[in-house]
Symmetry: C2
Subunit: 132 residues, 2 copies
């Protein structure tokens, strides 16, 4: 009776077109849902990334209300062998790598920002499953 994973992670954004241009146009995520003025949803591997206009999600007309502000944080996971190619891809898309961090044991991650200044991170698979 274990949780499989966190399936949906939600960000709050100000401009859905800008968000699509970033996550689909620059990062290459598949757009899997869209309601103009309300939200855009993307597939991120086995997870989904929900991007809502906060004031609209807060109305909670059909589903319970939620909302948020700030520069939220999430981390995408890639195979170790895909880490450097992904870093190259992010930089080639003109996105600044804000910081890279060495977590030990050969595990690196790097940080970058989406158009709403949410803090995105790319981590290597296995980093959270190390012993000790």
């Amino acid at each position: 009776m274990d949780i499989r994973k966190i399936k949906e992670t939600c960000l709050y954004v100000t401009d859905l077109e800008q968000t699509k241009e970033f996550y689909t146009g620059k990062l290459g995520f598949e757009l899997i849902g869209e309601v103009p003025g309300r939200h855009v949803f993307f597939r991120a591997g086995a997870s989904v990334l929900l991007c809502f206009i906060s004031e609209v999600a807060k109305e909670g007309k059909t589903l319970p209300p939620h909302f948020g502000s700030g520069n939220l944080h999430l981390a995408f996971e890639v195979a170790k062998s895909d880490y450097q190619p992904w870093k190259d891809k992010v930089e080639a898309a003109g996105i600044a790598v804000e910081q890279e961090y060495d977590w030990g044991g050969g595990f690196l991650s790097f940080y970058f920002r989406d158009p709403d200044e949410h803090l995105l991170e790319l981590v290597m698979e296995g980093m959270w499953e190390r012993g000790g």
Copy 2:
């Protein structure tokens, strides 16, 4: 070169002890990291849930700054056969189920709140992978 999944999802909380009592004490998540006054981290299946004190994360002393407020949203995924047992477990822990929703095709989800009023959802595995 695909993203595997969203590995880390982050919430901002006001009281780390209260957060531990909820996610570990009530939901049974394993505590995998803790820095008093700064954060508590939990394993949520293949994902990790990061809970930060927003004002501390915002300082960004070692890693880039992030922060947030509001009633954020995320969804945990369980096997279809574990859905009802999980709903029973949540209710038995004295947590109110705010809403249950039928997404069609036999896929249900229910919503509840953590102590900071973040909107948590439990979804059945496969809901986002349906055809059409």
